[in-house]
């Protein structure tokens, strides 16, 4: 499912925090959305995910405006995920219960994910007892369980240990290779973006200042502004 942005503007207290005249996130691409703090990355993905309203402009999903059926095929994994007050199993099963999936199907799909995330030992553990890395794995598993066509990840590996980062990256890539969804991943980590993403959108002060293949964005033709951010270590 592709995402087309047209004349999107978001303001807070009359200050423009997002201004994107035109942008297309093509179907089946894994996009890295990079930029320094306050560049509008999270605002952009929250608008795309339908949990924040824009002031003007449109976001079209395969030519359609945001609606209930789009909502059911898209999800966002937050930087600090909210897990429901229940077990790990129930957290992962939650989107399937919302969709009225049968108990048998829930059990099969959740068990498969628990195995692939290697979290069998914590499946009956209560969500509030999990470490940051475990919680993020559960949040990603919960997002993948209903096989979204658009997967949005808002800094999913910040503040977690290196081993968990590696496992999460593997699961994201596995899902991407298997299902070919459109993935938008907000990250501060340029190396991570190079490792995972086949497209980059670089943001600064609410605008996308460059987009394309990672080799174009960060290669010999890197634009001065991005070069400056890299040199200063701002991303």
């Amino acid at each position: 499912m592709n995402i087309i942005i047209d004349s999107l503007i978001k303001k807070y207290n009359n200050k423009v925090v997002l201004d994107i005249p035109q942008m297309e996130f093509q179907e089946g691409q894994l996009w890295g959305i990079l930029g320094p703090n306050g560049s509008g990355k999270t605002t952009l993905v929250r608008i795309i995910a339908g949990i924040l309203d824009s002031c003007s402009g449109n976001v079209l999903y395969q030519g359609h405006e945001y609606n209930d059926s789009i909502k059911k095929t898209m999800t966002l994994v937050f930087q600090r995920p909210y897990l429901i007050r229940s077990t790990v199993f129930e957290n992962i099963a939650y989107p399937l219960r919302l969709r009225g999936v049968s108990e048998q199907e829930i059990s099969t799909r959740v068990d498969d994910l628990i195995e692939s995330f290697n979290i069998q030992s914590i499946q009956e553990q209560k969500a509030w007892t999990l470490s940051g890395g475990e919680a993020q794995k559960v949040a990603l598993a919960r997002a993948l369980v209903f096989k979204p066509r658009i997967l949005i990840l808002d800094e999913p590996t910040s503040n977690i240990d290196p081993e968990s980062i590696m496992q999460l990256e593997e699961r994201i890539l596995d899902y991407y290779r298997k299902e070919k969804p459109t993935i938008l991943m907000v990250t501060h980590n340029i190396q991570q973006a190079k490792r995972l993403c086949n497209r980059i959108a670089f943001m600064n002060e609410g605008r996308i200042i460059d987009s394309g293949n990672p080799s174009d964005i960060f290669g010999s033709g890197v634009i001065p502004k991005i070069k400056e951010f890299i040199r200063k270590g701002l991303i």
Binding site: I51, M74, L76, F78, I84, P95, L98, R99, A143, F146
Partner: protein
């Protein structure tokens, strides 16, 4: 100290003797407080939750008004209702003064802002995150409301327990609108106030002990229910 010692003795005696007059007072106290708390919860839980997740002009003022009403002196509530319920007052036709219904209304007015305020406080911190989760998981509006209630259940229960405690211990408002009429509007707190005026201190202490026991039992049940979930 003699009053306390004899109070404990009298409390034990009252409980084991199954005094019908006393048990009628206990029954009415519980009926009035539980009904008022239930009705207040029906109004305040959705209202407090809504207030916690919605942004709208004038919200800050509304929240301040609710906080002010949370600490409104019960006797003032009683007085206002008493004046409204007077025969020549705006609600005089309903003939509510000196009835159990008036006492329920008084406790409802007292408890509703308390439950609203506590629910609001719990919802404003976690409500938006829960709402965002529900939306990103594809939940419908009714599924979102259900998730909010489920996730905030401990806070909601605490709000109801706080409200019930306030209703059960209240004396000023129910005394004004109920009048402490024997066999009709006499409840435990008004009985304690009356016994104190009569100088029957040990009986007043005894009634207080029974009131505390009932509160302890109900709170224990609610606490147990909360822990299980």
């Amino acid at each position: 100290m003699d009053n306390f010692a004899s109070g404990f003795r009298d409390a034990f005696h009252i409980i084991v003797s199954l005094d019908p007059e006393f048990f009628e007072i206990v029954r009415l106290s519980m009926v009035v407080s539980l009904t008022a708390t239930f009705l207040a919860a029906v109004v305040a839980i959705p209202f407090g939750t809504w207030l916690g997740i919605k942004e709208f002009p004038g919200k800050r003022i509304l929240v301040r008004i609710i906080y002010t009403l949370m600490s409104m002196p019960p006797v003032v509530i009683g007085l206002v209702l008493f004046l409204l319920f007077l025969r020549n007052g705006p609600l005089g036709d309903f003939r509510l003064n000196f009835t159990a219904t008036a006492m329920i209304i008084a406790q409802f007015v007292l408890v509703t802002p308390i439950i609203t305020g506590v629910v609001f406080n719990g919802t404003k911190d976690r409500g938006p995150d829960i709402q965002d989760l529900a939306r990103t998981m594809g939940a419908s509006p009714s599924q979102t409301v259900w998730l909010l209630i489920r996730e905030l259940r401990i806070n909601i229960l605490s709000a109801v327990v706080t409200g019930y405690g306030r209703a059960m211990s209240e004396v000023g408002a129910v005394m004004v609108v109920g009048g402490n009429i024997k066999g009709h509007t006499r409840i435990m707190t008004t009985t304690i106030a009356m016994l104190r005026n009569m100088g029957e201190y040990s009986l007043a202490i005894a009634t207080g002990i029974v009131l505390l026991l009932i509160s302890f039992l109900i709170n224990s049940l609610l606490y147990h229910w909360q822990q299980e979930r």
